[in-house]
């Protein structure tokens, strides 16, 4: 990739492979930094884990996995659904509008604590009004591209 000439600091970069020069350098740097972090923090971390002071777990015991994975699941369904419906009505923004309504309703229900009739009413109104308003302002008033 590069040739060393007389001085140890001299560098000649071959134009054909110049796209790899900086990324390779950065990858090496990342590797070295990762190693340095491991050396700096690794032993103390290992001791803390071995003594039981720290636990090797990603989630805290009181983590709300239902809301977390529910959010991720709803987002994936939202994106797929929006793309699918958007293809049925190209350049209209209907994919965004029509799929946002159930998405907002579902996510609000997921996030609300102690769901009652009053909350459900707010959630329903919000799910209907917010996407309609956003679609109208973005797509109709400002001609912003929507799925």
């Amino acid at each position: 990739m590069e040739n060393q000439s007389s001085s140890p600091f001299s560098i000649v970069i071959d134009f054909d492979t110049s796209h790899l020069f900086f990324p390779t350098l950065i990858l090496w740097l990342l590797g070295l930094l990762g190693l340095a972090i491991l050396i700096q923090k690794g032993p103390a971390f290992y001791r803390a884990v071995a003594s039981g002071e720290k636990k090797l777990r990603f989630f805290e015991p009181d983590a709300d996995k239902v809301r977390l994975f529910g959010t991720l699941g709803l987002m994936v369904v939202y994106f797929i659904g929006m793309d699918y419906v958007g293809r049925l009505f190209p350049n209209m923004g209907y994919g965004f509008w029509l799929v946002s309504i159930p998405f907002l309703f579902g996510l609000s229900c997921l996030y609300a604590h102690e769901l009652d009739k009053r909350k459900l009413l707010y959630i329903t109104l919000n799910a209907l009004v917010a996407p309609t308003f956003a679609w109208f302002v973005l797509s109709e008033l400002f001609n912003v591209t929507l799925p």
């Binding site: 600091f9 790899l20 939202y78 996407p131």
Partner: protein, 497 residues
């Protein structure tokens, strides 16, 4: 003054709307000025540059200012930059002086905002004039310096640098652009992804994903607690607001505003550092600091004038060097990119009209912020009770519309949003530092061009040290930021020992 001809009713309405919306975002705990800009950026797609910037700058001013509302009323900083406002603002609110504390904060915010604007107006053109003379070598060293400064303020400098370098790596994905002097070849992706990632990851989905979706995922894991419910807002039972609260605080106001502006100029440092620094300085230097932490107006004055001082300061490196001063101004780069305008040393000279309009927008936004917050504070205070279960879904919806529209309808950008939202959430749990990461991502491709072209031209690594006295001066600054990090790390270790 020809630029004043561009001021029309839509311009003023956008500023008003931007400030009001920014205040709402800032006032809701967990939502930040950065998120406000990220979510609202798609609204600006159809605006011209001046209107777009007026709206976004108004959001910025409103977003930073709105953070004082929950800080005072709920003891929860609405934005990280209001952290120290809680120390005295909340005790004041508990004594029935909620409205007084809010109004002291609003007046201080106005002073800090206007002070930093004056500094911006005076110094950004001067710094640009100097920066125009910089070669690729000095430009590369400035980026290097920016990353070391940001990293030195992280909990661990090594992790901070690692995060910044990771950001640089991701910015290199895709084609080595011939327009920038590259050879047009693709790197760091498999052939299957070439179509989608030919130009790399778009900035906006990355930003919105990290700051919008990432924050919501983190809160989802915590259960999206409705902490504002049941909060009793006692605004008026205690002492009323009058200007005597500022008696003897002139030095505090000016010093804190200056600290905020200066901290804002340091790339990536952020408002919380400005707030903490100004608060501790007031505690150290005031004649009577015995009441600080128990409901002293001077604490609110220090914190709020400092965090609004940040707004003008953070724009100085952005407009004169092309380096964002904080994560919020990083999003402003997105607005410039959308309009095909490159920020850097030439920006002010080549876009005098836009520059003047930006300063005017900031000025009007500060005045509007003051009027809205001062006279409608009782109503704004109610914003803190808007439940997240209604807001978060709207934010995700707006994030999606922004990501999709950035490249005129590419679904991959929406998936990038989710990808970087997950990255922000998981990275945060693993200890990665998001601010250096994002600064690295924004500046990575420029860093590559400056570095590689310098080596292609001079053929030796020593040129980075020997090119000019400015280069040496920058190395000195880099050394100082590293030394500062080592020193502060040792000091905090000895304190905890």
């Amino acid at each position: 003054m020809e630029f004043l001809a561009l001021v029309d009713i839509s311009y003023l309405l956008l500023i008003f709307f931007g400030v009001a919306l920014g205040i709402v975002f800032g006032a809701i705990p967990g939502m930040t000025a950065t998120m406000a800009l990220a979510v609202c950026l798609p609204l600006t797609y159809s605006f011209d540059l001046n209107h777009s910037l007026a709206f976004l700058l108004a959001l910025y001013v409103g977003g930073i200012s709105g953070g004082l509302v929950p800080a005072i009323l709920l003891n929860i900083p609405g934005t990280p930059s209001s952290i120290c406002t809680t120390f005295d603002g909340y005790p004041m609110a508990r004594n029935g002086e909620g409205e007084r504390a809010l109004k002291i904060g609003v007046v201080s915010s106005l002073f800090g905002g206007l002070f930093s604007l004056a500094i911006l107006y005076l110094f950004a053109p001067l710094l640009s004039d100097i920066a125009i003379k910089f070669s690729y070598i000095e430009k590369f060293l400035i980026i290097f310096f920016a990353l070391t400064v940001i990293a030195s303020l992280c909990q661990s400098m090594l992790v901070g640098i690692f995060s910044g370098v990771l950001g640089i790596l991701l910015s290199l994905v895709g084609v080595y652009d011939t327009v920038k002097g590259g050879n047009g070849d693709i790197r760091l992706i498999t052939p299957a992804l070439e179509d989608m990632l030919y130009s790399g990851f778009s900035l906006l989905p990355v930003l919105i994903g990290l700051f919008g979706v990432g924050a919501i995922l983190a809160d989802a894991e915590q259960g999206v607690k409705e902490e504002t419910e049941g909060a009793k807002l006692d605004l008026l039972s205690g002492r009323k607001f009058d200007l005597s609260a500022f008696r003897g605080s002139a030095v505090n106001l000016v010093r804190s505003s200056f600290i905020g502006t200066f901290v804002g100029m340091l790339p990536g440092v952020g408002g919380s550092a400005a707030s903490v620094l100004a608060y501790t300085q007031e505690k150290n230097f005031s004649r009577d600091s015995s009441m600080m932490g128990k409901g002293a107006p001077q604490g609110v004055i220090a914190s709020e004038s400092a965090n609004n001082g940040l707004t003008g300061g953070a724009l100085i490196p952005l407009l004169s060097l092309g380096i964002p001063g904080d994560s919020t101004t990083a999003i402003l780069i997105g607005a410039f990119t959308l309009q095909g305008v490159q920020v850097g040393p030439l920006f002010i000279g080549e876009n005098v009209e836009t520059w003047n309009m930006m300063v005017l927008s900031m000025f009007i936004a500060n005045i509007v912020m003051f009027v809205v917050m001062f006279f409608a504070i009782k109503y704004i205070a109610k914003v803190v009770t808007v439940p997240k279960y209604l807001l978060y879904p709207i934010i995700i919806m707006m994030c999606v519309s922004g990501a999709y529209a950035i490249n005129y309808g590419i679904m991959f950008d929406v998936w990038s949003l989710l990808l970087f939202g997950l990255f922000g959430y998981i990275g945060g749990k693993l200890g990665l530092e998001i601010t250096p990461f994002i600064i690295g991502f924004i500046l990575g491709s420029s860093a590559e061009i400056y570095f590689v072209k310098s080596l292609e031209s001079f053929g030796t690594m020593t040129i980075f040290f020997t090119k000019s006295p400015i280069a040496l001066f920058l190395w000195l600054l880099i050394g100082m930021s590293v030394a500062f990090s080592i020193y502060s790390n040792k000091r905090s270790k000895s304190k905890t020992a």
